[in-house]
């Protein structure tokens, strides 16, 4: 299953991930082909345990595939070293997690600047960029707050700001609204819509139809394989209005 985007930024070919052996073999991802073009938003939907998160981990080099290839900007990343993958995650690929995964002891701005510091930016530049992103994402006045003092939606905004701090080629989001209430979910929906419109390449794993509806293409996943592809982008206005994103 795949779609030949004009210039694929991220590609998967026959991607597989298996755990165990013999009768205990579990096929989490069973041969996925996928192309994600620059500036495109791709949503992957499916029930719990279908392999969505594993696929996302494979695409971002957090996990090693059992077979197949992953290419970022035409360069294979599935067979590169851990160090090379780490350097890639600093600048080319970043994650937004369902559980936010913020450092509890760091303030919002310190969490956001961490990625930039790991990438070797100067403390001043990292802080400046973090402050800009927090302002842009509507967290003015919250930058010195610890995560425990922020709402769920605000924490996810901090996590998104952190993901954007190094201006990555691709942002991979794993159930970004999974831990949020309705109001916070709407908040994050707006945020992803903005990202989409700004030309950020996004791959979103979700089982929330509303967030999937913001994507250019939407895939359904069952038992480790992509079984269906739809293009909600044909009627963005209607879908946007439907989910309350249109003004």
């Amino acid at each position: 299953m795949g779609n030949a985007a004009a210039t694929p930024v991220l590609s998967a070919r026959g991607l597989r991930k298996e755990y165990g052996k013999g009768e205990g073999l579990v096929r989490a991802v069973g041969g996925v082909d996928l192309d994600v073009g620059a500036g495109e938003t791709v949503a992957i939907m499916g029930p719990s345990g279908c392999g969505k998160s594993t696929l996302l981990h494979l695409l971002g080099g957090l996990d090693r595939p059992s077979g197949g290839e992953v290419l970022l900007n035409g360069r294979r990343i599935d067979n590169t070293s851990e160090n090379a993958l780490a350097r890639m995650r600093r600048t080319d690929v970043s994650y937004v997690f369902q559980s936010f995964h913020l450092m509890e002891e760091l303030t919002a701005v310190e969490n956001v600047e961490l990625s930039a510091l790991l990438a070797g930016r100067s403390p001043q530049a990292a802080r400046r960029r973090a402050e800009e992103l927090l302002d842009r994402l509507g967290l003015v006045g919250r930058s010195r707050f610890l995560p425990s003092a922020l709402s769920g939606g605000q924490r996810q905004r901090v996590a998104v700001a952190r993901a954007l701090s190094n201006e990555p080629l691709v942002v991979l989001a794993d159930e970004p609204t999974g831990n949020l209430d309705s109001a916070a979910t709407l908040d994050v929906l707006h945020l992803f819509k903005d990202l989409h419109e700004s030309g950020q390449t996004l791959v979103i794993v979700t089982h929330d139809a509303r967030i999937a509806a913001t994507a250019d293409r939407m895939f359904s996943m069952r038992d480790g394989v992509l079984v269906d592809e739809t293009r909600p982008t044909g009627a963005p206005g209607r879908l946007g209005a439907l989910i309350g994103l249109e003004d």
Partner: protein, 607 residues
């Protein structure tokens, strides 16, 4: 019965599930119980060695000696008021003892072959005197390296060593009292030709039969005599000495048992200081290690309590499971600690016995067994109580949701770390998350380095000893051996602590490390960070331990023991720098493996 089986099964499963943690917990409690066992056994063995020797060897209350011309004065003493029993007078002769390659001055005392009720030297190896057989005082035998069955010559005449014995009538070699007319000198011997002829240098003590002693000399007038007295009131020996010493203007040389005790325990005090010093330091280290380990397990235990309650376990059941788990480890650690301590102690008490001339051997007493077991079980209960109470008080949902203890925020350290390279940035933040653990790590290393500082001082002191007469070369070797044992135990426990702290840090930072990896930190950077989070506090601890820690510890020991620190050679600056560097290198090496394992854990599993 079913509930008991369930409790045991759950406890066993949890221990097996966390084998590394269980092993580290066992080692930490084992180190504490072994140390405690050693300390208690050695305290019993070396606590009052002169008293035990005095009891074993039927020590006299007063020892008097004269030249042959004054023998009647000794005989008068036998009937003096207050005397209840006596042995002697026995003839004493100065002689040269030759073994293979060495010649020593000795005082040879002639004794009966039959046992007597006052000053019957306690034979610790071999048998008592017989014709042609010589018994050598134990500390002297150690010093000149003679053993039962060896042949020696006394003034050219051959004797067979039939036994080694200790006595309470004279301080052990090389502090022997002088009984012979020629006089004796103990300590460094300067052969400047001015010494009186016949003067004995560091004389040892040997026993022969009276007939053999008399046969050593052709001039009976050259013999001296010694008399051992038992008084009705041993506390009044000084009164007895004063009343019976000064007749006819020539004081009769007499030594009270208190005088001998003072001379004998000078050595005993030194050995005790050495032994107890190690026990103090090891105890402190054990506490630091256990605190970290138990603290690290608490978060896991709280979650486990929630799980057990969720499947229907009552608070009593979950407390029993937790308690059973720790009790199992504690009982094993106590038993192993007692065995190891009891097996190791003779290594040290043997040297202590040689030093003080004590026949007392190290052995386990019921009080030692009870105390060590109680401490081990106490650790188990303390470690269990907090999570059990916390679990019982919290709701099931709350306990289930209880994440690992929230990390602490140290703002200034986070700000400073932003200016550092990535590994140090992460290391400082790892350390800043658990300041109490860092403090324990610093304290543990400081205690270790302080101990090594003191050991260096003692080693330098011992290095100066041969020739000063305070210790013989053999005794210095024995003391050095004891120092080596303590050093090995101290460093072993410190090493265990370093590994425990690193592993606890690795487990505690699983999520933070994985997140750093997900954000772009390389495995090498996270590995270095986890190791550096231990090494940086170790550097601080090593510096504090070298100065002022070591100096303060040495000063404290001197204050407590009344020692003269002015005589000590303190470590040179280069030694302190080497000590700090070696400590940092050792901690780096010890933390490398657990840090490597922690830094390379799969990211997705932790997230």
């Amino acid at each position: 019965m079913g509930r008991i089986l369930l409790v045991i099964r759950l406890a066993r499963r949890d221990l097996l599930r966390r084998r590394t943690e269980a092993a580290l917990l066992l080692i930490a409690i084992l180190a504490a119980t072994t140390t405690l066992t050693l300390g208690l056994v050695l305290r019993d063995a070396a606590g009052d060695p002169y008293e035990s020797t005095r009891a074993a060897a039927k020590g006299p209350d007063v020892v008097a000696n004269v030249q042959s011309a004054g023998l009647d004065r000794l005989e008068n003493l036998v009937t003096a008021a207050g005397v209840t029993e006596h042995s002697g007078p026995y003839p004493v002769e100065a002689a040269k003892l030759q073994t293979s390659g060495t010649t020593s001055d000795v005082q040879v005392v002639g004794r009966d072959t039959a046992s007597v009720s006052v000053d019957q030297p306690k034979v610790i190896r071999g048998s008592w005197v017989g014709d042609g057989g010589v018994v050598v005082e134990a500390a002297f035998a150690d010093a000149i390296d003679v053993h039962v069955g060896d042949s020696v010559t006394l003034d050219g005449r051959s004797f067979k060593v039939v036994g080694e014995a200790v006595t309470a009538a004279m301080p052990p070699y090389p502090g022997s009292s002088c009984l012979v007319a020629a006089g004796c000198v103990n300590g460094a011997v300067v052969d400047d030709g001015k010494a009186p002829p016949g003067l004995l240098h560091n004389p040892g003590l040997v026993w022969l039969t009276q007939a053999d002693v008399r046969s050593l000399t052709s001039d009976p007038a050259s013999l001296s005599y010694v008399l051992n007295l038992k008084l009705a009131d041993p506390a009044q020996t000084q009164v007895f000495v004063d009343a019976n010493q000064g007749d006819r203007g020539r004081p009769l040389p007499m030594q009270s048992w208190q005088d001998i005790l003072n001379d004998a325990t000078e050595l005993a005090r030194d050995s005790q200081i050495l032994l107890l010093l190690g026990a103090w330091l090891l105890g402190l280290l054990a506490v630091a290690g256990l605190s970290v380990l138990v603290g690290g397990r608490m978060a896991d235990q709280t979650r486990r309590v929630g799980l057990l309650k969720a499947v229907g376990g009552t608070p009593g059941l979950v407390a029993a499971v937790l308690l059973a788990e720790y009790l199992l480890v504690a009982v094993v650690a106590a038993a192993a600690g007692l065995v190891i301590g009891a097996l190791t102690a003779p290594l040290l008490t043997e040297s202590s016995a040689g030093l003080v001339g004590s026949a007392g051997a190290a052995s386990l007493t019921w009080s030692t067994v009870g105390l060590v077991t109680a401490v081990a079980l106490g650790v188990a209960v303390v470690a269990t109580a907090v999570p059990a109470v916390r679990g019982a008080r919290s709701s099931t949902v709350g306990a289930l949701a209880d994440a690992a203890r929230p990390p602490q925020r140290t703002g200034w350290l986070i700000a400073v770390s932003a200016h550092l390279p990535v590994p140090l940035l992460l290391a400082l933040r790892v350390a800043a998350r658990r300041p109490r653990r860092v403090a324990l790590g610093v304290a543990g290393i400081a205690v270790t380095v302080s101990g090594i500082y003191v050991l260096l001082v003692l080693n330098a002191f011992l290095g100066d000893q041969p020739g000063t007469g305070v210790y013989t070369e053999a005794q210095v070797a024995v003391l050095r051996h004891a120092l080596l044992v303590w050093t090995v135990v101290l460093l072993t426990l410190a090493a265990v602590n370093a590994v425990v702290m690193t592993w606890t840090t690795v487990l505690d930072n699983r999520h933070a490390t994985a997140l750093a990896r997900a954000l772009g930190a390389t495995p090498w950077e996270t590995t270095v960070a986890l190791a550096a989070a231990q090494v940086l506090p170790a550097l601080l601890g090593a510096v504090l331990g070298a100065f002022p820690g070591g100096f303060l510890l040495f000063a404290t020991i001197n204050t407590i023991t009344g020692g003269d620190g002015g005589k000590a050679t303190l470590p040179a600056p280069w030694q302190l720098i080497a000590l700090v560097s070696a400590t940092v290198l050792a901690v780096t090496a010890l933390t490398a493996v657990p840090a490597h394992l922690g830094g390379r854990r799969p990211v997705t599993a932790a997230l």
